[in-house]
Symmetry: C2
Subunit: 330 residues, 2 copies
Amino acid sequence: MIPHGGNLSRLRQRYPNAPEPLIDLSTGINPYSYPLPAIPETAYTRLPEEVQIRRLKESAATAYGASDPDLIAIAPGTQLLISLLPRVLPAAQVAILSPTYGEHAAVWSAAGAAVLEGAAPEVLESGEVAVLCNPNNPDGRALLPREIEALQTRRMQRGGRLIVDEAFAEFGEAHLSAVPAVPQPGLIVLRSFGKAYGLAGVRLGFLIAEADVVKRVEAALGPWPVSGIAIHLACIALADTTWRQAMNERLAQAGERLDSLLAACGLEPVGGTSLFRLVRHDRAPAIAETLGRAGILVREFPDRPDRLRFGLPPDEAAWSRLENALAVVR
Amino acid sequence: MIPHGGNLSRLRQRYPNAPEPLIDLSTGINPYSYPLPAIPETAYTRLPEEVQIRRLKESAATAYGASDPDLIAIAPGTQLLISLLPRVLPAAQVAILSPTYGEHAAVWSAAGAAVLEGAAPEVLESGEVAVLCNPNNPDGRALLPREIEALQTRRMQRGGRLIVDEAFAEFGEAHLSAVPAVPQPGLIVLRSFGKAYGLAGVRLGFLIAEADVVKRVEAALGPWPVSGIAIHLACIALADTTWRQAMNERLAQAGERLDSLLAACGLEPVGGTSLFRLVRHDRAPAIAETLGRAGILVREFPDRPDRLRFGLPPDEAAWSRLENALAVVR
């Protein structure tokens, strides 16, 4: 089992006296969720029709800058795409720029692939399949789109595929997206709706790639992989450029505020994205425990115990509880 | 592409002057949907937690009569499970009791399996994998649970698996379910939440099988395959035995009323389940066209043009429009 953020039940179990509501800063999900519009009852009762799926693909193509809706497959969350890819596009050698989101290595290993993980970008030159989280989770390290395109041009010469997981290429990192390069042969981009729009429970993700790969993924998923609710919500949210622009600024401000707060407590910045910050501290585990007792869950990394990842506090009450809890650390 | 019911957009395109609202009798989805409860915002915003997924499995185990929640995998719709199975449990020879839901043969063929379709139950004795829709769609033909268990006892002696798609083993057909026999080795049962509860847009289905198969399916799906919305709704709906009992009677009455109406128009009954009726008529295509012009979509079968499948009219207005449209046929 790969450890993930978001486990409030476990926090509650471990610190039964922690003040409620618990504050979840352990995920990279936007805490300022897209405001839920009214959802028609037919989104619940009826199977989504082809025209609705088509409309969602068109909205996604526009929002993500894809040249053609036919280059997009929809899925109930990016995670399911990650889990499926080793079955849809089997490979014997897989290279992953690491450390990163742990599921990539896990699913390829489980499928029997030899997985080479490396911290230097050169690792991406190897493997039948290479995996790049861009920007990277948790450190925010990123390749530029032209670097990705050049990388895949080299890889393609020996038939190698490149999976770019753009779970966090939104808002301040939107310029990093490799989507406009699709359908470059062998390039596969993953986008997460739930993280950016703060609607992770809805389960919606996209795969953007050349048409043949899209067809194979769609065959593996079958005709109605995504709920009518997700389709209805996402068609509205993805088209809302006003919200996205305002969110861009809101996240930038919240990020700076978080930076100041963390720095004031001696938590050394290591990286991050618009939706989270990674910091280093010798007593990181003790700090996580202090926060846990205060009802605040942050992301720890078992294999790098001096790191902590902080999501953005959802509201003023959460900011002030975080500030108070961190004051003890100072 | 396998033809499916539910395509109102195509009906609208073909008969642009058909009266609205269109009436969809082309699916096997319960038209008397489970009343939507309030859904907490966290079901949309947060990733489902392990405890919530566990609760859903417990509710499903109780509702379907499974001996242990660990024998259940959850998925965003049964269709995705059908599409996945050839990848999770590959087989070279697959036998399918036919004619039936077309996706089974399609996905196994696409995966490279030799698919043997047969109309006699003996076909189920062959194949590494055998597929039985029970009760069958569209004709309602069914094996009894003890026949299924005996069949799988024979199959198991040569390591053969049996997939029982119980999409319609609800209400009047609930006694047919093979779920209580799980974990019989090699027995895999599929259940559809959306069809029975009239919430097909939510996308929720279950696979019930021995623990090893459940683990393999869950590995293929990854950690959060189902939306928080589906989990919240289904935990409530699956526990609502009062609703289920009342629905049982309501569907039985609606079914008898539909039988009378169809018989009065010379449509010969061929079979069906609590959620639909299959009829035969020499002029079936003309009848479908008459209904189409009246804004009523029924299910046709390109390979058996003398058959039509009728779902249950959702309300009195729909009953009377159906009655009027069929009067022309008489």
